[in-house]
Point group: C2
């Protein structure tokens, strides 16, 4: 499982002292090659953390030899100092790997090292702890370090998240963190995917963008878009196999969907996972717009928490969108009971069984044949407590 | 105070049995003239309740002789039956007023009677209780009935809301209800304003649109837009005075701002009233977009509930907008402490005094000279409880 499921990768996860709790907070993933092609997608928030700005630049070369990730601080809204800290982290990783004899051809270089950070916005990182931590992590790199790396990137996550798909002799594996500030474009997530398939950066990029568009980009736990979201895909080529591009894209999509579902299942304070499927839309964009509007309706999220199939709040949310539909042709099912037909009262709402964690909403716009699925969570007192009791 | 502060109006508020609680649930406001000019603004939700569809039609004539309002049921998403019920209510009011001798010239007519409903979406009204209730209300109409009318339109409101401005010998008064599903365009509100000024419908419309644009339209308690919002302004002309149009517009704006502030102060489960002022914007639209984005950020709303001046969540919200700004030029003050300067750490956040109910956020986009104020509430466990424990 995780980022070391594919051949050609080592990883480590250690406690550098960045988190006050003393828990694991620094992860390192190293691509040992023979190839180092890579691709990435990033938050669409215009306020981007220093590590996002850094890694976007680094990836323009289409290669990554390592990824260093820290929890315990987002290094966002930290000004020029924050960017210098990210740069210094990448330099330190390169130097430490070279000193330890991790020989990439020509040696590791900061310009091929991605940096990811997660935690509180607006606080600079304790570099006096982070930099020595890099040496510790390098010393602990192993081909079995994937689980420890996944644990070290947790913030308010209650469990660490990993996934893997293997086909013939190649593998796609990955790890993710994310529990709050989960919203599209992307969620507050850090994701590192690895593969031992032998593919160029352009192919990785194509597969990754296609996969995130219908997985991570359709997770909307709480409508809040992060400053730090990063999803990276590194290919070592260690399997010596060039897979069929369709097979590879499907494997990447499966791993992303698996991790995305795990993020929703572990969202802060949530008691329900809400699957919103919009059907009968005139376009996929319409379906996504309507799905997001439903996903972000606080009153509906509260009602579902209370196991109340309050379809009026679904219609109210649909009504705020610009999608093509006629109000008197809307149909809504909750857990397969069509409680709203033609914009009005449908089947008996008492028939809806709301006992289980997963709630399925189907909104039929009766305006076409396109569809989309958005995942969301309910709104709970625990969410409020978790996000009001301390800065995160 | 309320809708009977101006001369020429009678009102009543009674318990018709629409609410299961047996509390007041039917209000009636009658314009006794000599004039009956009127204007209205309505929800921009595309899923509109039957009474909204009805009243929009009625108002095309620019005249209203009465407004009947019920709590205990929104009559939204109720199909053709819902519209027939609204129509029947207006017919009943006209007949009952005519029978009781409330002589408008030529008698009252359903085509000049506005209907407003509020409560649960997707349930038809108990017409067997509502229609007899109209007779009871007509029998209790008095020039001092404004308070009772304001009480009868409450849903989850903890207090009734009224306001008044008097100038020389003319008055603008009004009542409002709204506590949840409060969001722009408009909030879940029913508002009836009255005046004894002698002005034509076009002038009323101009003053009302200008007033709501910067008051009710900038209240965003919970990001949820209602199917039933209606704001009406009726003029009796009973003062015999034609006021200066600027004075009149300012009086209407003052009453609207007063009522809007009361709505925020009584929002479901709220413990903080949040005043968000966006300054330095390139356009007013930019300022409003940024203000709304901040107002709707659940993580920020939780943080403010916890009295945590978490400015990173403000920047994260600003970053999701399309407004003109540079991330490294953003400044944010919370209760006058500039905790973020140039997109990075500013004054010590520990200086921010968060003890009071009102929280003031100032976001400076450093991109121009336009500004806007949006009002919002915090997100609390009480909000979750109130909106998950029962259908509303």
């Amino acid at each position: 499982m995780s980022v070391t499921a594919a051949q050609g990768f080592t990883a480590a996860g250690i406690a550098a002292g960045i988190k006050e709790s003393g828990g694991p907070d620094l992860a390192l993933v190293v691509n040992q090659g023979p190839r180092s092609a890579a691709a990435g997608v990033f938050t669409s928030n215009r306020v981007k953390a220093a590590p996002v700005l850094w890694t976007e630049q680094v990836l323009k070369g289409g290669e990554l030899s390592a990824v260093v990730l820290n929890s315990g601080g987002a290094n966002a809204c930290t000004g020029p100092q924050g960017f210098q800290d990210t740069h210094a982290t990448a330099e330190k990783v390169a130097a430490s790997l070279n000193t330890a004899g991790y020989d990439e051809t020509g040696g590791h270089d900061a310009g091929r090292i991605a940096v990811c950070s997660t935690g509180l916005i607006g606080v600079t990182l304790p570099m006096d702890k982070l930099l020595p931590g890099v040496d510790t992590a390098v010393a602990q790199l192993t081909p079995h370090g994937g689980e420890k790396a996944a644990i070290a990137i947790k913030t308010t996550d209650s469990v660490h998240k990993t996934a893997q798909v293997s086909q013939d002799n190649w593998t796609v594996g990955g790890m993710a963190k994310g529990a709050g500030m989960l919203a599209p474009g992307l969620a507050t997530m850090l994701v590192v995917l690895t593969t031992d398939a032998d593919l160029p950066a352009a192919e990785l990029d194509r597969a990754l963008r296609a996969a995130t568009r219908t997985t991570f980009d359709r997770v909307d736990s709480d409508g809040c878009m992060s400053t730090n979201d990063t999803v990276l895909l590194l290919a070592s080529g260690a399997s010596g196999t060039v897979p069929d591009t369709g097979d590879f894209a499907e494997a990447v999509r499966t791993v992303c969907a698996d991790l995305a579902r795990q993020l929703i299942g572990d969202a802060e304070g949530a008691s329900k996972d809400i699957r919103i499927e919009v059907v009968g839309a005139a376009s996929e964009d319409d379906a996504v717009e309507v799905g997001r509007s439903i996903a972000r309706n606080n009153l509906l999220k509260c009602a579902l928490h209370g196991e109340d199939p309050n379809w009026g709040r679904v219609l109210s949310a649909i009504g705020t969108t610009s999608a093509a539909f006629e109000p008197d042709q809307l149909n809504v099912a909750i857990n397969d009971i069509w409680v709203c037909k033609n914009g009005s009262v449908g089947e008996d709402r008492d028939l809806v069984d709301m006992r289980y964690r997963e709630v399925r909403i189907t909104a039929d716009l009766a305006a076409g044949t396109e569809s989309a699925v958005i995942w969301a969570n309910d709104l709970t007192a625990d969410y409020v407590h978790e996000n009001s009791a301390y800065s995160s």
